[in-house]
């Protein structure tokens, strides 16, 4: 069928929603569907052919992060043209509760409309203020998907109505067979952190405090940190025990992200809140690195309440240090978690998840032609850039 995907955030900036839309598009194309994505983008020249840009976007603070979105008459006109030219069987908007292309598309499209809700919004004020505007869009949505229990609860509690739960996907193929960076993880133990490190809710300070405690008895312990942000923030707050033990990679490519996750003994997700899914946990599990995460509801769900990854008390550096210490000392437990983690991650492979999403499309657009038989599958474009 012909599917139009709407991504609200700037394509060039790495983010969970962008990655989701990208991977979904690739998976749908691989299944033989016709896909077009509309999104704001800074660098239009290097976009793959299935992506239509509405131009640059402006930074908007949203849910504790800075999101770059497009909203206005010019964007509205471009969205309407894309809808008209696309002649879609189904339009699938992402995060339609933000003032964005997704909201514009919801207003303009008359046809089967599917929406995916990614965020667990903690401060309902943002939503309540926009409620009347959002309601006009929400009424038009034929089927709703939530990527997590907490995203679904946000929807139920603040906007009314329910949603189907379909988790985020992970591309197992991209995370199989990756090699660690030379010299990593090494003999002394290595912990990893990935995320926008100046954002408080990502929890880097909790990890640094725990690592400082561990460093006292572990002379070889090292930290590998990757993610966008100002490195000086890390160096300034670095506990003296950790001087010379932290490797800062900055923002990494998808390939290096996989390698980075493979290069540590334990991947730590110390996030203190605002996470609705935790895709990076699945990515760490997909490369076979044991995960130690704060006991946020979303993380507990992905880790099967601690079966396929360990949990520590949210915000508790001492607990994190103790649990990380146990894992570093027990290679058998790490290997076991690696096996369980990879088996778990495979259930979230995009090939599995995309099939569930297509089933939703089929319920809202029953008349749409399925994939034409014998149609050649186009080569999946590589990379987001």
């Amino acid at each position: 069928m012909k599917v139009g995907l709407v991504c609200p955030y700037t394509w060039d900036v790495p983010g969970g929603v962008q990655a989701h839309v990208h991977d979904l598009a690739i998976a749908l194309i691989a299944m033989g569907h016709e896909v077009s994505v509309i999104t704001p983008a800074d660098d239009e020249a290097s976009l793959p052919p299935y992506i239509v840009s509405t131009g640059r976007a402006v930074p908007v603070p949203y849910n504790g992060a800075v999101a770059r979105m497009a909203f206005g008459p010019l964007s509205a006109r471009r969205v309407r043209r894309w809808l008209r030219d696309g002649n879609f069987d189904v339009v699938h908007v992402h995060e339609p509760t933000t003032p964005s292309l997704s909201l514009l598309a919801s207003w303009s499209f008359d046809g089967p409309l599917v929406a995916t809700f990614h965020t667990a919004v903690q401060r309902a004020r943002t939503l309540a203020a926009a409620y009347p505007i959002l309601q006009t869009a929400l009424e038009k949505i034929s089927a709703r998907i939530a990527v997590s229990v907490s995203a679904r609860r946000t929807l139920v509690e603040h906007l009314g109505g329910d949603a189907v739960l379909i988790p985020n996907g992970v591309s197992m193929a991209a995370f199989a067979d990756v090699a660690p960076f030379p010299g990593w993880p090494g003999e002394g133990g290595a912990l990893g952190f990935l995320g926008r490190f100046e954002e408080a809710r990502k929890g880097l300070p909790v990890l640094l405090e725990a690592a400082a405690q561990l460093a006292v008895t572990r002379p070889g312990l090292r930290l590998l940190i990757a993610g966008p942000g100002d490195p000086d923030v890390v160096w300034r707050e670095l506990p003296p025990e950790l001087v010379g033990r932290v490797e800062l990679l900055g923002q990494v490519s998808d390939a290096d992200k996989a390698r980075m996750l493979r290069s540590v003994d334990v991947y730590v997700a110390p996030n203190t809140g605002g996470e609705s899914f935790g895709i990076v946990l699945l990515e760490a599990m997909a490369v076979g690195t044991p995960v130690l995460a704060s006991d946020l509801e979303a993380f507990r769900a992905v880790l099967g309440d601690g079966d396929s990854g360990r949990l520590f008390a949210n915000g508790d550096a001492a607990d994190l240090a103790a649990k990380a210490g146990h894992l570093l000392d027990d290679p058998a437990a790490r290997a076991s978690l690696a096996a369980l983690g990879r088996a778990t991650a495979r259930r979230y492979d995009w090939s599995v998840v995309a099939r569930e999403i297509v089933r939703v499309y089929e319920t809202v657009a029953p008349g749409a032609p399925p994939v034409a038989p014998g149609r050649r599958t186009p080569r999946a474009p590589l990379g987001r850039r």
Binding site: D177, A333, A335
Partner: protein
């Protein structure tokens, strides 16, 4: 069970074996490694029937284009690899989890997790390569204890020692022969109970072999793994093991487990077993082709060689952990 009386030769062999393994266990590995390597080189240089057979086997793997000198060098590496297996077999009970788990690089072990978690048995089939005893210890240590079978050796005292070594690292070992129907029944029972079974499956040591095309030539492989999986509904998965030398003293152990080999949707039992065993052979061949020096195959396994060997003199007393 009534064992035939132990011959003098067997008694001497057992004593020599016990003495040797005790020495290997007590002397530091940094000293025994060069000795085993040297021994492997000496055996290779003598170029006896085993090494000649090894070369014939490897020739099928690498193809006719490899010059004889290169094949000979490969055989030398293979002999060193085999000697390394033996050295490690003796020292295995002394290796801690740090070594057994910490020096293992593995891909695909998650394949066995899902069936086992759902109460479905798994038959893991692998050729004689790398160090399967270490891999077994590793599997047991990371939470996947399993059952395996071993060819009954003469003398019995030696066999018991092999079994003891393996049970010490967490495997349940059943005798392939001598246990009679009991062994087979136990295997079925374990699989039906959703347990893991590991079988070394590149050499047909019984008479239940299935003919497969292996590196383009006919060989026989045991039907056991496919038959057991088919009879119990267990998942059949191939594995391969090899050595890598990039990880400091002693290097690392490596391996993979590939996804399930599905039974064909149609056909009778024999056709299905043949198809599954052929697929097993193809995946083994992929592993062997990638790491030929770690395939410990010093016996004839292709039909042409087996027939040639049968018309020649009978083989001497065989000692091996298979």
């Amino acid at each position: 069970m009534t064992d035939p009386p132990v011959s003098r030769r067997e008694r001497v062999l057992t004593m020599a074996f016990v003495a040797g393994s005790t020495v290997v266990r007590l002397v530091p590995e940094s000293l025994t490694r060069p000795v085993f390597r040297l021994a492997a080189d000496l055996v290779w240089r003598r170029h006896g029937p085993s090494v000649q057979q090894l070369e014939r086997n490897l020739r099928r793997v690498v193809g006719p284009s490899m010059p004889d000198a290169a094949l000979s060098a490969l055989a030398r590496k293979a002999m060193r690899s085999y000697a390394r297996y033996w050295l490690e077999f003796f020292r295995l009970p002394g290796y801690g989890p740090d070594r057994i788990v910490g020096r293992m690089r593995f891909e695909g072990e998650e394949n066995i997790v899902e069936p086992l978690a759902n109460g479905r048995g798994v038959v893991l089939a692998l050729p004689h390569s790398g160090n399967w005893d270490q891999a077994g210890a590793w599997l047991a240590k990371i939470g996947f204890p399993f059952t395996t079978v071993a060819e009954r050796l003469r003398p019995a005292a030696l066999f018991d020692r092999f079994v003891a070594t393996r049970e010490k690292v967490g495997m349940e070992v059943l005798p392939l022969t001598g246990g009679g129907r009991d062994t087979f029944a136990t295997l079925l029972k374990r699989l039906r109970a959703g347990r893991l079974l590991c079988l070394v499956a590149d050499r047909d040591i019984g008479d239940s072999g299935v003919e497969v095309s292996f590196f383009g030539e006919v060989a026989t492989m045991p039907a056991g793994p496919a038959s057991l999986a088919l009879a119990t509904g267990a998942a059949l998965m191939p594995a391969y093991l090899w050595y890598s030398d990039d990880g400091g003293p002693g290097g690392t152990w490596c391996g993979w487990i590939k996804g399930e080999i599905m039974p064909p949707p149609t056909g009778d039992r024999r056709t299905k077993v043949a198809a599954m065993t052929q697929e097993l052979a193809d995946i083994f061949a992929a592993g062997i082709a990638e790491h030929p020096q770690d395939w410990h195959m010093l016996q004839p396994m292709w039909l042409a060689d087996v027939r040639a060997a049968a018309t020649a003199e009978p083989a001497g007393l065989k000692v091996g952990p298979e």
